[in-house]
Amino acid sequence: MEDLLIVKDLKTWFPIKSGIIQRTVGNVKAVDGISFTVRKGETFGLVGESGSGKTTAARSIMRLIEPTEGEIHFNGINVTIAKGGNLRKLRRRMQIIFQDPYASLDPRQTVNSMLVEAMKIHGVTKSRNESHERALKLLNKVGLSEEHLYRFPHEFSGGQRQRIAVARVLTLNPDFLILDEPTSFLDVSVQASVLNLLKDLQKDFDLTYLFISHNLAVVHHMSKRVAVMYLGRLMEVAERDAIYDSPKHPYTYHLMAAIPVPDPEFEKEEVLLTGDVPSPVDIPPGCRFHPRCPYATDKCKKEEPILEEKDEHWVACHYNIDFKSGEKKP
């Protein structure tokens, strides 16, 4: 399959300034060197705990935040150096849906003007009539009807608002969507319908998704391949089932064991991770997971492992650990 998005060594640091001359005294290393590719037509899941840099990565890919270092290629075009008209063209093809539908819609615009405005800015349609027809068609597609066209955001529920956000993005006919926690503001009974809608739209419009969530069960439901992020770096990237059923990185292993299962009779292994995620300002030396890793050795404290591939399964760990027996091989 063709690679649609290639991210190479992406770093996004936020400087910490202090003193009267505002000297940079440190950096928040939100994204600290991540590389992955998203293939055409797939849903690529990105999971991680809060503060792991998922959202910063998403915004850097969209160039809503300028990345500090690294390269992003979208369909052969270098996004990192794109400017002006070229960048605008790219933005039409790659779009983002945000977490909070209460904040991402303009409260003073009707649904119609929101949808039409996007088309106007990007010159997607020729005439007002055409824009209107397209808006209506897309609104139907996301499960809303004509009567909703002239309403304001406050008249809608959270789930409906997220549908409007999806329709607005689709007016531009994008190839690639970043979904940044699209359902975490919604109730469970509504979440299911939005997830189903996203799956249907992917088929109908031939979309590629980068799906970001802290909810591991939702990512499992949506994704084909999954990347696990920890403190600004990727720990493991593989096919969904490989990540969830036979993880190779100790962090992924613990993360998967922590997922609550909606089945009281499911016999779960009790493996707990100790401690909390360290601050991204002073990242531990060596492997950034070593202070919490039960398998850590001296080598882990000194050398940072790189993400290495073996049979389409990328892992950043010095060892090959058998979690059942606790045995580890280099």
Partner: protein, 364 residues
């Protein structure tokens, strides 16, 4: 037997809120029982009345709320008939709560030690007793020891004088011990820190410690794992399971997440639109859900262990509480709704043994 073990009994509780948009009918006749030493999972979507139920029990409803009817029997006494002062004393001694966001409830300008010692100093008699026990038996008194004194509090009569310093030291020792009990890493160091210096998981542990310090008999945990990460959530759920065996309390665990309830609760009560619609043991409710809402809810959540191609979503949205649907509040979204459902509200009745459900399809 069952009667005697009942700690809390909520009977037909109705609570409304006055708002400028109209009357919000938040609770519409809630019936709920809590038995000794159990963890009851109170599950439902936002706006279903989970938290309002908890706040009513605690006597912490905001000013615009008024209680239309019902009873809350705590050890046989109606909490709704008690004065605000009495409830306040009861909250100090018997009812403990931990809320979702610990940073809002911890005092930001006081060290953890100050906040925790203060709680222990409420009961100086107990501290004196602990000091005396320590002196006479010559070994350290731990928080677990104190827990076991709860029922047979016999003051050992001695002529030993206890100084104020000793009492204070005892309080501090108990703090360290309690923090260790809630698995706080580096308990001594944490005592001299301020809330902002702690991580989310540690703050939540500090809150749990404060709630337990008074040895409550009813512990309400309102969405305590919602604001923390999965790995921390697993730690806290593990802690709650451990504590259940150590503390002599009944717990109401409020959560919107069925999976969390499945992990921790002994029994589950499902709420919808201000009513409890189904109550049973956790295993039974997952094996044999009866109410259409519970059934649909279970099919709407993704399960990592049993993946499905497509989730079943529930049509419609959570009901508006200003103009709630008539009859059964779930009827507009229910695929099996009958005429009767639109007119009359079904009562919570026992359908199978120890499995209550409020639905005309099942009973009534």
């Amino acid at each position: 037997m069952k009667e005697r073990n009942r700690v809390l009994e909520i009977k037909d509780l109705k609570v409304n809120f006055h708002t400028y948009r109209g009357e919000v009918k938040a609770l519409n006749g809630v019936n709920l029982n809590l038995y000794k030493r159990e963890i009851l999972g109170l599950v439902g979507e936002s706006g279903c009345g989970k938290s309002v139920t908890a706040l009513t029990v605690l006597g912490l409803l905001p000013e615009n709320a008024y209680i239309e009817g019902g009873e809350i029997l705590f050890r046989g006494e109606d909490l709704l008939k008690k004065s605000a002062g009495d409830i306040r004393l009861l909250r100090a001694d018997e009812l403990a709560t931990v809320f979702q966001d610990p940073l809002t409830y911890l005092n930001p300008v006081l060290k953890i030690e100050t906040q925790l010692v203060e709680v222990f100093m409420l009961d100086k008699k107990l501290l004196k007793q602990a000091v005396i026990a320590q002196k006479t038996h010559g070994k350290n008194v731990t928080f677990t020891d104190i827990l076991s004194w709860k029922n047979d509090s016999v003051m050992e009569s001695t002529n030993l004088k206890v100084s104020r310093g000793e009492v204070k030291k005892m309080a501090k020792d108990l703090c360290v011990d309690l923090l260790r009990l809630v698995k706080m890493p580096d308990a001594e160091r944490i005592l001299s820190q301020y809330p902002f210096e702690l991580s989310g998981g540690m703050r939540q542990r500090a809150m749990i410690a404060m709630a337990l310090a008074r040895r409550p008999s009813l512990f309400i945990a309102d969405e305590i794992t919602t604001a923390v990460d999965v790995t921390i959530q697993a730690q806290i759920l593990h802690l709650m399971r451990e504590l259940r065996d150590k503390i002599d309390a009944s717990t109401i665990m409020i959560t919107h997440d069925l999976s969390v309830a499945a992990e921790i609760a002994d029994r589950i009560a499902v709420m919808y639109g201000g009513n409890v619609v189904e109550v049973s043991s956790t295993v039974e409710i997952f094996r044999n859900p009866l109410h259409p809402y519970t059934k649909m809810l279970m099919k709407a959540i993704p399960n990592v262990k049993k993946p499905v191609k497509k989730l079943k979503s529930i049509p419609g949205t959570v009901p508006e509480m200003i103009n709630p649907p008539s009859g059964c509040r779930f009827h507009p979204r229910c695929p099996f709704a009958m005429d009767k459902c639109k007119k009359e509200r079904p009562k919570l009745l026992e359908a199978v043994e120890k499995h209550e459900v409020a639905c005309y399809l099942i009973k009534g």
